[in-house]
Assembly symmetry: C2
Homo-oligomer: 182 residues x 2
């Protein structure tokens, strides 16, 4: 028998901490005996569909595909942690509809701090005019209005964020699948 | 810590039994405590990249993407069962190169029996001239020359095939990762 899994969708500005939190939470969830997959937006783009760019239509398709894949894996009982900027509300709403159990996590961090971190050097390149359509600079980030969880990476350590995320996951698993085995 | 996973690649004619064996093996592997994902070729096409058709180039790209995805998930410690016709040797070779541990399973069944099963009605449509490029009819299936395992679905039951596949998986896990924990 396959139990129902969960899609944990981490959205936020570039360098907000999505991938870091996805990987740290994956480690914790595995330690607790869960089957886990991490889908990192950058990896998906590079490895699976490099044909997609950063236009609105391509961003939407990128999020749709990531959501479809996450839903497909979660239906097999996996906890699927998706780390993806996914800047548009409407596209995230589509992703939510592709999973039986969905936990939207807003990885919240101010633009100034994200830009100071600039993990991949994208903000610097956007400020220099070398790339266009950079989320937070010249492309909008639509913050979630009602996420299941907000993680403030400026204020809380990675360990604290992981604790909060795991607590939300456990609560969701318990509330939305009464009688089901973990 | 993440242990190394395995890509189990089931190749064979349409209706040879790939999806059936992938799902049955997944159930068994989960029962034994493994984290498992099944990637079904038809599901990937429909859900993720419906833009790909059945030309040689698109088939190759379909197999490349499935292999990249499988490798990405196996690198996270999952046993990834891929059920995909993947008719061309060269494309399967690319998939092998995308995984640290790869188990190629030739799901062997005669064309006549596959055509009699015709799970999706594709053989009938191909014979009627309604679809072109059907593997086994008017598009080649290049059988593996040196697969790790051959499963003869005309001769063996699903349970027997699953037993053999699990034995091969256990053997590969033991041989290619000395000292690693399961």
């Amino acid at each position: 028998m396959t139990s129902v899994g969960t899609v944990v969708w981490l959205t936020g500005l570039p360098s907000a901490g999505k991938s870091t939190l996805a990987r740290a939470t994956a480690t914790r969830a595995r330690e607790q005996g869960r089957a886990v997959a991490v889908l990192d937006g950058d990896e998906l783009r590079q490895a699976l569909w490099p044909d997609l760019g950063f236009s609105k239509a391509h961003r939407d398709e990128n999020v749709r595909r990531a959501g479809a894949l996450a839903g497909l894996l979660a239906a097999q009982g996996l906890v699927v942690l998706v780390a993806l900027v996914s800047p548009y509300r409407s596209a995230r709403s589509v992703a939510r509809g592709q999973a039986a159990r969905f936990l939207e996590v807003f990885v919240s961090c101010s633009l100034s701090v994200c830009e100071a971190r600039d993990v991949k050097g994208l903000y610097a390149r956007a400020r220099a005019g070398e790339i266009q359509g950079m989320t937070g600079i010249d492309d909008p980030y639509e913050a979630p209005t009602a996420p299941e969880l907000v993680l403030r990476t400026e204020e809380w350590t990675v360990a604290e964020c992981v604790e909060r995320l795991m607590a939300a996951l456990v609560e969701l698993e318990a509330s939305s699948a009464p009688g089901e085995q973990a």
